[in-house]
Symmetry: C2
Subunit: 254 residues, 2 copies
């Protein structure tokens, strides 16, 4: 079967983060599928069709793109950040498993990108310099109790925690509830990095404490990094602070 489907990570907003591999995959595609704001980032090309969809229609988008590729076309699905982290690659795999047998014969290529937590971390120092986890706060696809259990486990074991999808219009309370939960395990002074729209013109990165972290500081474009007990802040005169987690760690008391 000659069809080809690439799932391409654009990285954070700016083209400075687009890898050569991703740029090639986009240029080679006959058809592009994706959430409209992501498609808008890809330079227009003659004889390349574009199929925009809403950001909640991930499975329908994956299915349409697979069906198109199964006709023998070279198709790319675009994804913000890295397609493998809370993004389109898993949706494509779900559709392949559930779909017609011939979709398994397609040439599937996942093209990695800079995911939001790496971009936010880089802006502020090295908060992910030691063991960390990445957790989506969206309870659309898993029960809130499971999210709480994972927050408990990660904080108690000393992982730095990157929170994806902290809030949305339909999920206004989840970030506040997660912060409350983390306060059971971590000191009020624990550094919290709020990175909004990193790599875009309206980028904003703030460092607050766990005591001061507030849902009003976040939106759908925000990635949050909550430090561990080891995470440190270096004040710098006239420059933004550096937040980092040392490579070495002592035993965490239970």
């Amino acid at each position: 079967m000659s069809g080809h489907l690439a799932v391409v990570g654009l990285g954070p907003g700016d083209a400075r983060y687009l890898t050569p591999e991703a740029a090639e995959a986009l240029a080679a595609a006959e058809a592009l599928y994706g959430y409209a704001p992501y498609l808008d980032r890809v330079p227009a090309r003659a004889a390349q069709s574009r199929h925009a969809s809403d950001n909640r229609e991930e499975r329908a988008r994956a299915s349409a793109a697979l069906g198109h590729a199964a006709q023998g076309a070279r198709v790319a699905v675009v994804s913000g950040g890295d397609p493998g982290v809370f993004a389109m690659a898993a949706a494509v795999c779900e559709e392949i498993e559930a779909g017609p047998e011939n979709w398994r014969a397609l040439d599937i290529e996942i093209v990695p990108g800079i995911t939001a937590m790496l971009a936010v971390a880089a802006r502020i120092g090295a908060p992910l310099g030691h063991d960390f986890c990445a957790l989506s706060l969206s309870d659309n696809l898993k029960p809130w109790e499971l999210i709480e259990r994972r927050l408990d486990a990660a904080a108690a074991a000393g992982f730095v925690i990157a929170l994806y999808n902290p809030v949305s219009r339909a999920r206004p309370w989840q970030f506040g509830a997660a912060i409350e939960r983390l306060r059971r395990h971590l000191l009020p002074s624990t550094p919290v990095v709020l990175g909004r729209a990193v790599g875009r013109a309206d980028e904003r990165v703030n460092v607050v404490t766990l005591a001061a972290a507030d849902a009003a500081d976040t939106d759908m474009a925000t990635l949050v990094i909550v430090g561990s007990r080891e995470t440190r802040v270096i004040a710098r005169n006239g420059r933004p602070p550096l937040v980092y987690t040392p490579r070495a760690a002592a035993e965490v008391s239970a």
Copy 2:
């Protein structure tokens, strides 16, 4: 103070993963510091000095690069993958915090890159498509008991687990011990992805089960991804399997 220090992520081996931002930062540097095999990946440039060091000399390398930048130079420290993930950015921050006051006045820029777990995941599907953690198995900088505690917490709470630094010549038993530990929590059929030298000519990605995972399958260049209870394998006739973790999860039983 005019000195500038960039900590630059090269991504996995191949230049296809080097972002435009990273390429610019390398081109602009007057001096490059790094582990020799990483420096070798950067195209030579006239009037740019190179300072190679061993891979265990991270703090000494960071200190030398900071001292050089503090003389007013434009210096880049190169890092494989992403500099913020078990790499040079944290070492640079540690040295800044411990070093002379004027190092805090330097212009510090961290340039993110594709870290190994993203590259390995992309090669095989979407194993990191749901909540996951990244854990270094090196007990040079933390006690083994803490690593075990983190393995327990992550596996029991349903995180997919990316293992960095699974073994080295000086640490031959850690990967086997970690796998033994994870078998307490996860089914023998749990998929384990072994990604070696992804992005390089000698790349090799294998999928085994937790029951079959063996230290002989890993080396210093291997990144391991251990699935959760939700991680699935899609067999494909004549193509490598796809390994992915669905975006949705049910409650994990305690």
